[in-house]
């Protein structure tokens, strides 16, 4: 007998899928989530092994093309200087993220009005603030109130005190102070103390390879356990091929392959996409029908367009003294928003943030030294390594990318995943504005390192394996001709289809997007609940 339609079908169990599932659980609707990956096991994370740093070269690379897990799908990113990074599992890319968790600024939602670039969002910072604060409690965010880079009212709420700066962080903080630049302890989705059944961080420094301790807020340890207890059904190892459409032009479910590779069908009254800024346009473009010959919800032609990454530069200072940089969360110590807002004198519009990185472990020191031409093979190798080991401090410049239709996601004509589903192809070029911003950030980063006492710096710009932040490919807006979804995530063309991942971003901001992605997902879920009675009218 055919399965009865579920009320809500969520595709993707990562940052946004978890948040929307948790929020909708209280409605007592039947909510089913399909996730192409599985549950991660803490004991499988490499941080418990002696070869933990070696694991990042391949099996735990951020690139699905390098990892080649069964759960991954390939991404043709040969036409992009920035490689796509993502992870497929319950928790999605939060499994491997650094958990650096700042919010967007008020100006990020008004770039057209303020600076004449990008577009204004159909909502603003104040509207998202309650959802940021709710997300802060759900994820267990550590931070310090009073950051002068944000409005004091409404305040940013943190349930936990900030992650310790460490010797390395305090060294750079003195450098910022020397220059008179803004800095602040990071907003971190890492529990600095025990929180809601999760153990506090032990400063092991393996965040980018999964957290065996459970202190890092990946959604498999935050939203999902609660959502499941409240009745949400999560089906793992289920890879969706397409969203199906009924004769009325509404989404009516999905076809997917289960863990055995057997084709399955699930029918649904409402479908929510949470597959990230590459996976969502891929799925929409793979969902062609007589109603939507160019892909589902794509009458605007904007599905897949306006892909935004955050171009990254890494500036690494080399110091004389040991910094104990391997102790503490990899990407969470301090941040600076000194260069966040537009200053025309800099030669570019919009801006960037700095996120401090802890130092490298010994293997990473050798590999980074190799890439930077400082630790080469052959005679002198060991002497060169000794100059760097535990003497480096890094800072990442996260540059705001502007939306450009020529940067886009399409379907690759040949490449497929293991189930034969066409894979995404990324076409992306770095804009002149972004390049100028990167150059400015590198110069300021070197200035900072000198002020902090570094004797030398190394630079990577742009960082190639840095496509963590995937945004803009199904943008939000009020006009169906210039956007894919409305201000509460509903597709203009399909009123029972919603998108909650980074695809809906109108602009990129200059900070890590996960907090904003989840705040938006909570906002969309709340809108669905408030409009439930008339949702399909």
């Amino acid at each position: 007998m055919a399965e009865q339609p579920v009320d809500v079908l969520i595709i993707g169990a990562g940052a946004s899928g978890a948040a929307v599932a948790w929020s909708l659980a209280e409605t007592r609707m039947r909510v089913v989530c399909l996730e192409q990956g599985g549950w991660m096991k803490a004991e499988d994370y490499p941080g418990t092994r002696e070869d933990w740093e070696l694991a990042q070269i391949r099996d735990w690379s951020p690139s699905p093309n390098v990892r080649e897990r069964r759960e991954d799908y390939p991404v043709n990113d040969s036409a992009s200087p920035i490689a796509a990074s993502m992870f497929s599992a319950v928790g999605g890319s939060t499994i491997l993220y650094a958990a650096h968790f700042p919010r967007f600024h008020p100006s990020d939602f008004r770039t057209r009005t303020l600076d004449g670039v990008g577009d204004d969002w159909p909502l603003d910072y104040a509207q998202l603030t309650p959802w940021y604060n709710l997300n802060s409690r759900m994820m267990g965010v550590s931070g310090l109130t009073g950051d002068p880079a944000y409005p004091a009212d409404p305040p940013k709420e943190f349930p936990l005190p900030p992650i310790p700066l460490g010797r390395l962080g305090e060294t750079l903080a003195r450098g910022f102070n020397e220059l008179g630049w803004h800095w602040w302890p990071s907003d971190s989705a890492i529990a600095s103390q025990d929180y809601e059944g999760r153990a506090g961080c032990i400063n092991a420094g393996t965040c980018l390879l999964g957290c065996p301790h459970g202190a890092k807020a990946s959604t498999d340890v935050t939203y999902w356990p609660i959502a499941i207890r409240r009745g949400v059904e999560l089906r793992t190892h289920c890879r969706v091929r397409e969203i199906t459409v009924g004769p009325d032009g509404l989404a009516d479910g999905a076809i997917y392959y289960d863990a055995a590779g057997v084709e399955q069908r699930v029918r649904a009254h409402v479908v929510i996409l949470a597959c990230n800024g590459i996976g969502t346009p891929r799925l929409l473009l793979n969902s062609r029908s007589s109603h939507f010959p160019d892909g589902l919800a794509n009458r605007s032609g904007l599905v897949g367009k306006n892909l935004m990454f955050h171009p990254y530069a890494i500036i690494t200072g080399v110091f004389e003294e040991p910094l104990l940089g391997y102790q503490g969360p990899t990407g969470c110590s301090l941040m600076s928003h000194e260069f966040y807002e537009t200053d025309a004198a800099r030669g570019f519009v919009r801006g960037y943030s700095f996120e401090m990185l802890r130092g490298f472990g010994p293997v990473s020191t050798a590999l980074y030294g190799l890439v930077g031409g400082r630790v080469l093979p052959g005679p002198g190798h060991q002497e060169a390594f000794a100059q760097l080991v535990d003497r480096t401090a890094g800072i990442a410049a996260i540059c705001e990318d502007l939306p450009e239709p020529t940067n886009h996601v399409t379907l690759d004509p040949e490449l497929t995943d293991d189930d034969g589903i066409p894979a995404p192809k990324v076409t992306y070029r770095l804009s002149e504005n972004s390049q100028r911003m990167l150059d400015h950030a590198v110069a300021r980063g070197q200035e900072l390192m000198a002020a902090a006492g570094a004797r030398d710096t190394m630079v990577q710009s742009p960082l190639m394996l840095a496509g963590w932040h995937l945004m803009g490919t199904a943008r939000m807006g009020r006009d169906p001709a210039t956007s894919v979804v409305n201000e509460w995530g509903r597709a203009h063309d399909v009123k029972n289809l919603f998108i909650v991942d980074g695809s809906v971003f109108v602009t990129a901001g200059a900070v890590n997007p996960t907090n904003t992605i989840q705040a938006l997902a909570l906002h969309v879920a709340d809108s669905i609940k408030r409009n439930l009675a008339t949702l399909l009218d």
Binding site: Y45, E50, D51, P106, T113, N177, I202, E341, A366, G378
Partner: protein, 158 residues
Amino acid sequence: MTDAPLPAPLTADQLRALAPVLDGFIPRSADGTLPGAGELGIAADLDAALRRIPGMHAMVVAALAELDRLAVRRGAARFTALAPDEQQAALGELSSTEHAFPPMLMLYTFGCFYKHPRILAHYGLPTRPPHPEGFRVAPSDLSLLDPVRARGPIYRRV
């Protein structure tokens, strides 16, 4: 993380043949206090890591076989039977052929060398995995924020 069957491990002779290759990547330190990568005896550890990447392991096996062929041309039974200077000459010859060692071998050599307890201890780094013990980090000196607070708001009003 693929489920492909693992290739056979390198033989004892192949591991011996690998040692001078690894020493080429990471030679003994100038002051003699630290061994080279081959001298440290990481070849078996390296082999274990490479076997999980069958394609690359096969390239290493092919390169080692080519070294033996080059040794035979030099009148030896195998590469490990050559004198050290002749081994270096054979390695130099190999590097310009289609059977040269894959570049990834060097990355994995770095990886295995710099996780070895002897090397870590030399640099005063922990010889255990980061988990489950972790590290104790001193509380922050938040008085460093005084000048940041004194400056006042910097966000853009909209």
